[in-house]
Amino acid sequence: MTGRGVWFWIGAALFIALAVALALVVRNEYVFFAGFVILQFIVLATAWNILGGYAGYVNFGTSAFFGIGVYTAIFLLKAFSAPLLVQIGVAAVVGAAMGLGIGLLTLRLRGIFFSIATVAITIIAETLIINWKFVGGATGVQMLRPPVTPPFDSYIKMLFVVLAILVVIAVALARYVQDSKLGRGLRAVRDDEVAAESCGVPTLNLKLVACAISGALMCAAGAPSAMYLQFADPVSAFNLNYSVSALAMSLIGGTSHWIGPVLGAILLGSTQQLLTVTISSEINVLVLGLMLVLFVVAAPEGIIGLVRRLWRRVGKGSP
């Protein structure tokens, strides 16, 4: 393990320790309600970036994976009353399988065709769930939370810590992909797929692996949502807002490094929480859209690019 790797894992351990400490100390439950959503967005944006950022395949179907994650959890709960960790684990497996399947179906398509195909899959998945009575159909389904396991004194705090662990897993995976042979191959795909293919890069396989990892993480992020809201319906579980959020957070943070989506998700996620509470939930979608357009037009490298430019200027300025 290199020096940077050690620091990364120390940081990750500190992050989880902080989350646990918060859960044990802080009384106000609202902190965890808001924190849960922000952590969830970190996972979604990080997952999106593995395919969208590294390989340049714009996935509009984040909400398809998210929604399937939610409904996998509900199905397991209703059929076997499975515990939370099983729900998340199975959701991740389902997500990976779904990523592979969708990848095989759509990854031969380039650019906008892939993107539109992912929207298609979202709507088709939503329609299937709407017509599936066992999980509630169009009207949705209500669930009761099981009793909480100590040392936590409320379920929402436990969910918060679980999500914190999920964040670490997601970021570690993204970091691994970025530095590995896989990541270099994906970047070659993004820059020039035909050239990469002719140099012997197994482009389809790489894209499939990326799609499977990304899908597994998105589904895993969706699974705890069922217990978080104690209610789910197809329209909100497959809401396109998840797709636009994951995409916007990645692009605003910067897609070239794993820290980009994390920064973007923290920044936009907390702004959204603030705006939802103080003004309205419509305005936060508006802010998201405006920021997205502003960034892709004016700062294509995202926050990372801005920081790097600033860094260079400071470096040049000082003698």
């Binding site: 969208g52 340049g56 714009v58 509009f60 179906l105 759509t106 398509l109 650019g111 906008i112 065709f113 993107s115 539109i116 195909a117 929207v119 298609a120 899959i121 709507i123 088709i124 939503e126 329609t127 299937l128 709407i130 017509n131 169009a138 820059d191 396109l240 636009v244 995409l247 916007a248 692009l251 897609t255 419509e282 305005i283 979608v285 508006l286 998201l288 859209g289 405006l290 997205l292 357009v293 892709v296 037009v297 294509p300």
Partner: protein
Amino acid sequence: MFSLELLLDAVVLGVMVGCFYAAVSIGLSISFGLLDVPNVAHPALLVLASYGAWLLGDFDIDPIVAGFIMMPAFFLLGVMLYRTYHETFEKRGSDAGVRGLAFFFGIAFIIEVVIIMRFGVDQRTVQAFYIGKSIEILEVRIPMRMVAAFVVAILLSLALTLYLSKTFLGRAIRAVAQDEAALRLMGANPVAIKQWAFGIATAVVALAGALLIIVQPVEPTLDRAYIGRTFCVVVMAGLGSMSGTLVAGIILGVAETIVLTMFGASWAPAISFTLLLLVLGIRPQGLFGR
């Protein structure tokens, strides 16, 4: 439960709905099919135009007339959109795909949310003398609103086909779609032509949006259903094929109405997307593709 009579009903209505789908897709057929601009904001512009027709309806303006009134404004909007897209993405080259898509996706979201914030999420309808009545064709009852939309849709497709094949500028647009570099060597300015074409494509959306609110009540998030329908029609037609657009629209329309009568409305949204996936998987160049 299912009879020949019902099938005939579905087919006749499906053809009419299909022509309407062709009309709402034809703008995209130009902007995406011919110009290769990833215009995912097209359905959102469509809904915007519907709200425009609804607002003008307050002044007792017929929705179709309102569509024509809005055309110049939408033309300018289209020119501005393309200008921004060209300056920020097409010129920069390499990474244009990802960011260009995100740009139009963002625009679509902004339009949607602004409509929600300004007019709320209620469904809106318009009034006109042909809305609410129905006539009988081939012993099938057809709502007059469908007939109105059908006639305008046919005329619109015809006019655009003629424009693209007979006029100088129309031919220039098709030339830019075929070989931009060659056009540049001839001394023409491909960017100016594309800008004009994108303006026309957006102006057509103004009229199509008016048809949309004639055919069905409009709400701010309706554009999501029409992402599937418009892209399905354009891709199935074969990119940039105007006559193909009409045929593909009719195929989608008939498929949707048949499924609607056989399985119920809750399956309808998935039809266009399933067809789209099928076309992409089996024949990605479309029915009339080059």
